[in-house]
């Protein structure tokens, strides 16, 4: 007897690929590298801090980080424009096919990459295969107050909408899916569609320079779609064909 295992099927629907659903535009010309998004993301998504030693070993749990590189030597030295790097929510995500337990699956309805914590067994294949290095791994029980007594009071701050992850679990930016769901639910209860700009991820909400715009990329009238139409726009590591949903607007002197 053949059983339908309901396994996810990888489809090749090119129309769908281009349309996408949720997307983000980050303007590097006005990003000041202030790290407000980094802190806001941590506070919203229950991201643990790991301490100095683990941070030094590269085990920080930031879901969004701000990259910058040096060019040249003094006095002709320049810093490349600050670039906030977060999960690019690729349509063809390299992290997805390598997971042996289907913990990194593609959300068909939202067209983003998911990390299903309860499925994850911590092989870290996905992180190895991610060209953007945006997946972070819980090397220890960073959220366990029994092991870290300093957390007992701090845990009052945890967001009840977001799972607290345990050791051995991979995690990454979710485009604040809890906020998407909340807004969708509110809109549904009021009998209307979700308005453009109604879903605001924590990073975009905090950004003092308004460098981050979020919204529906399949709606050409949305703010994010309009912001992406510029000669300054590009995708990170576009040549890999991952179809990322984050568009970067070049900084520096580009017009």
């Amino acid at each position: 007897m053949a059983t339908d295992l309901q396994l996810p099927v990888f489809t090749n629907n090119s129309e769908n690929e281009l349309a996408g659903r949720w997307g983000m535009v980050i303007d590097q010309d006005i990003c000041t590298g202030c790290q407000a998004c980094v802190a806001a993301c941590a506070m919203e998504n229950n991201i643990p801090f790991v301490g100095e030693a683990d941070a030094g070993y590269g085990r920080t749990m930031h879901w969004i980080r701000i990259e910058r590189f040096w060019q040249g030597t003094f006095p002709e030295v320049k810093m490349t424009p600050y670039q906030p790097v977060l999960c690019q929510q690729c349509h063809k995500a390299p992290c997805e096919p390598v997971c042996p337990v289907f913990a990194s699956v593609h959300s068909v309805s939202e067209d983003i990459n998911l990390q299903v914590y309860n499925r994850c067994v911590g092989t870290r294949y996905c992180a190895n295969n991610c060209p953007y290095q945006v997946r972070v791994f819980n090397w220890r029980d960073y959220t366990d107050a029994r092991q870290r007594p300093e957390l007992v009071t701090l845990q009052n701050q945890l967001n009840p909408d977001v799972t607290v992850r345990r050791r051995g679990v991979m995690e990454k930016c979710t485009f604040c899916i809890q906020r998407i769901r909340h807004v969708e639910d509110t809109a549904q209860s009021e009998g209307r569609d979700v308005r453009d700009g109604e879903v605001v991820p924590a990073c975009a909400q905090a950004c003092p320079a308004d460098a981050i715009v979020f919204g529906r990329v399949d709606d050409p009238t949305s703010k994010v779609s309009k912001a992406a139409i510029t000669s300054r726009g590009s995708h990170m590591l576009e040549e890999l064909g991952t179809l990322p949903r984050v568009t970067y607007l070049a900084g520096g002197s580009a017009q």
Partner: protein, 199 residues
């Protein structure tokens, strides 16, 4: 050494020993699982049947279900709103914990029964908006004293319902309307998406 151990197991006595061990392990497992399904001891043996019996709506106490994720537990002010007017409140030994809690301004530490694991986000509102009555999932509470789950609240159970409600069949689409078929397909994609509950 290990060979000797297996040789010993092959003797009749050894086989009986293995059988007994397996039986013990199996019954312990059954007992353990049964324990997890038993309704826990509550600070007050709250008789749901009585309260539903006098005509109190579920949403009167668990009003959050109408608006958001969690139905919530009633505050003591809500209990006391009715109970302070009732003579039995001061006489019944069963109500003593309530009186004490109110007098000492202490919270009542209820133990949640109908709950999902930490990595699941369940929102009541859309379920009620979709026309589900409380008893569809929670059983006939008017027959229970202390609440217990009528079934195991696991993902298979959730998905079975989500699939049933979005299947393109005579119930959901009596007129075989292609528009409804498409809408059902979209809905099905969403209702079976991991990101619906896991984040």
């Amino acid at each position: 050494m290990i060979k000797k151990f297996f040789d010993a197991l092959n003797q009749p006595l050894g086989r009986i020993g293995v059988l007994i061990t397996l039986l013990v392990v199996f019954s312990a497992a059954v007992w353990g699982i049964a324990q997890t399904q038993k309704p826990p001891e509550q600070p007050i043996q709250f008789p749901h049947n009585l309260h539903v019996g006098v005509g109190i709506q579920c949403l009167y106490c668990h009003s959050g279900a109408l608006r958001g994720a969690s139905p919530g537990l009633p505050t003591e002010t809500k209990c006391w709103g009715c109970h302070q007017q009732m003579a039995i409140t001061n006489t019944s030994p069963l109500l003593k914990p309530l009186v004490q809690a109110v007098e000492n301004n202490q919270p009542i530490n209820w133990i949640p029964v109908a709950q999902v694991p930490d990595f699941v986000r369940f929102v009541h509102r859309p379920h009620i908006a979709a026309g589900l009555n409380c008893e569809v999932c929670h059983g006939n509470v008017s027959q229970m004293t202390v609440y217990q789950n009528p079934q195991v609240l696991n993902m298979g159970w959730c998905l079975a319902c989500h699939r049933a409600k979005t299947e393109d069949n005579i119930q959901n689409n009596p007129g075989r309307d292609p528009a409804i078929t498409a809408a059902l397909a979209t809905k099905r994609t969403k209702l079976t998406d991991c990101s619906l509950c896991h984040y």
